[in-house]
């Protein structure tokens, strides 16, 4: 009788078995997994495995000799139970493009697919549709553009980009990454953006939610991974974005040029290639330079990290600067100073 068990990170023997199984089934092993489990046969051989990272299921595989035994059902049941224990009721998964049927039978619904590569699914029938419906309510007439930003924190560079896009379009949908990733809390990032664009009436601010650059669509944005993974995630993210753009009538996406962050540079490259394919314009705007120095949120964090708030100050608009010089920010500043790496990789 086969049995299901946890695969612990330090259990090198079983980890090796999982690697071998994934390789045999042609599935890339994600670098960042926070839980794995597997089904073992009587002899202790691993015949099915599945893992999760936050609220996504991934690296799901059944040995080709054991297809049709309902092993994936066991693995997914177990992973879902564990997700619920952790309070995640909205769960996502990736699978190879040809395997989506298996997961449709397990109560998952397609959000987007990168043709021939992978399918991105969620366990809510109306999850994405409801999100799009909510967005569609903010649809504006005329030429609309979108920007997705982390604004970690909101700098004069962001302001420069937003101003430019807002001037060139009738409306600008600004999506702010709502994933908590770093010492500056989302609520603060959002407040600084809202204050920083308050005088631009045609800017509509949105939370990015689980469908744009989230740890579900784009885990390698937040945690170091290899280029192949970043490219795959970026492509998927843009597939989802294409549907969002269609729902709100966005025809162009703006982004700042990227020189320092590897992952953002790759993302920009992917946008330049993929967005025109979806009929969307991609506009890369040169970074704002002040006194010969390029403004970026990374540089601001680095300056704060190094204890040179004055150096950060000139890159920040008034609203952001007011926050960082207030008593409220002391905890955040201490957290940035305590980071090993203040820049985005």
């Amino acid at each position: 009788m086969a049995s299901l068990g946890t695969i612990f990170p330090r259990d090198a023997r079983t980890q090796a078995q999982m690697d071998a199984l994934l390789r045999a089934e042609g599935i890339r092993r994600d670098k960042n997994l926070d839980y794995s489990c597997g089904v073992f046969d009587e002899d202790g051989a691993l015949i099915a495995a599945g893992s999760s990272f936050k609220n996504t299921l991934r690296c799901l595989a059944v040995s080709s000799e054991h297809r049709g035994e309902g092993l994936m059902n066991q693995v997914v049941s177990h992973l879902l139970e564990r997700q619920t224990e952790q309070g995640n009721s909205h769960v996502f998964l990736y699978t190879k493009a040809k395997n989506d049927r298996i997961f449709r039978d397990l109560g998952f619904y397609e959000i987007a697919r990168v043709e021939g590569e992978l399918v991105f699914m969620e366990n809510r029938r109306d999850g994405f549709a409801r999100y799009l419906k909510g967005l569609a309510a903010t649809r504006r007439e005329g030429k609309c553009a979108a920007i997705v930003m982390n604004a970690n924190p909101f700098t004069r560079g962001h302001r420069h980009l937003v101003e430019r896009a807002a001037a060139e379009n009738d409306a600008l949908h600004l999506f702010l990454l709502s994933e908590e990733a770093g010492p500056i809390p989302f609520a603060v990032r959002k407040r600084l953006v809202r204050e920083g664009v308050a005088d631009l009436p045609n800017v509509i601010l949105h939370d990015s939610g689980p469908y744009i650059i989230s740890s579900a669509t784009f885990p390698s944005y937040f945690l170091r991974d290899e280029d192949a993974a970043i490219l795959a995630h970026a492509k998927l993210d843009l597939c989802v974005f294409g549907k969002i753009a269609a729902a709100i009538g966005v025809t162009a996406r703006y982004a700042g040029e990227e020189k320092s962050s590897h992952v953002t540079a790759l993302y920009n490259e992917t946008m330049a290639a993929e967005l025109p394919r979806q009929g969307l314009e991609f506009r890369q705007i040169p970074r704002l330079a002040l006194d010969g120095e390029t403004v970026s949120a990374s540089a601001v964090r680095q300056a704060i990290h190094d204890g040179e708030l004055e150096k950060a100050a000139f890159m920040l608009p008034e609203s952001s600067l007011r926050y960082f010089t207030s008593a409220e920010a002391s905890g955040v500043i201490a957290a940035i100073r305590a980071m090993d790496e203040a820049k985005h990789y």
Partner: protein, 100 residues
């Protein structure tokens, strides 16, 4: 009974059903997926709603992924998910009844 947190019961294995309940504000939202939808979809739906009513659940988002479970299994899974969602599953589980 009030659904206080997301909870899940059952599995996706053959002859079982996986029932997930989540808090909601306005009535019962039921999402049913079944391998025998054409034959028994209506029956399953009725069983789920009846069980929820007996438990006094008025507001919930309920997702059922059925793999050909018998009625008694579906009832038990729904009860279990509801009890778990309001921390009534640790002791003195009132199987077959409602918590008063």
């Amino acid at each position: 009974m009030e659904i206080k947190k997301p909870a899940i019961a059952g599995t996706l294995e053959s002859s079982d059903a996986q029932v997930a309940v989540e808090p909601a504000d306005s009535g019962i939202e039921l999402y049913l997926e079944s391998s025998v939808m054409n034959q028994y979809g209506r029956q399953i739906k009725a069983t789920v709603l009846e069980t929820l009513e007996r438990l006094g659940v008025e507001n919930a988002r309920v997702t059922v992924v059925d793999k050909g479970a018998l009625d008694c299994t579906i009832k038990a899974r729904v009860e279990c998910a509801v009890f778990r969602s309001c921390d009534a599953s640790a002791a003195n589980v009132p199987w077959g009844g409602a918590v008063r």
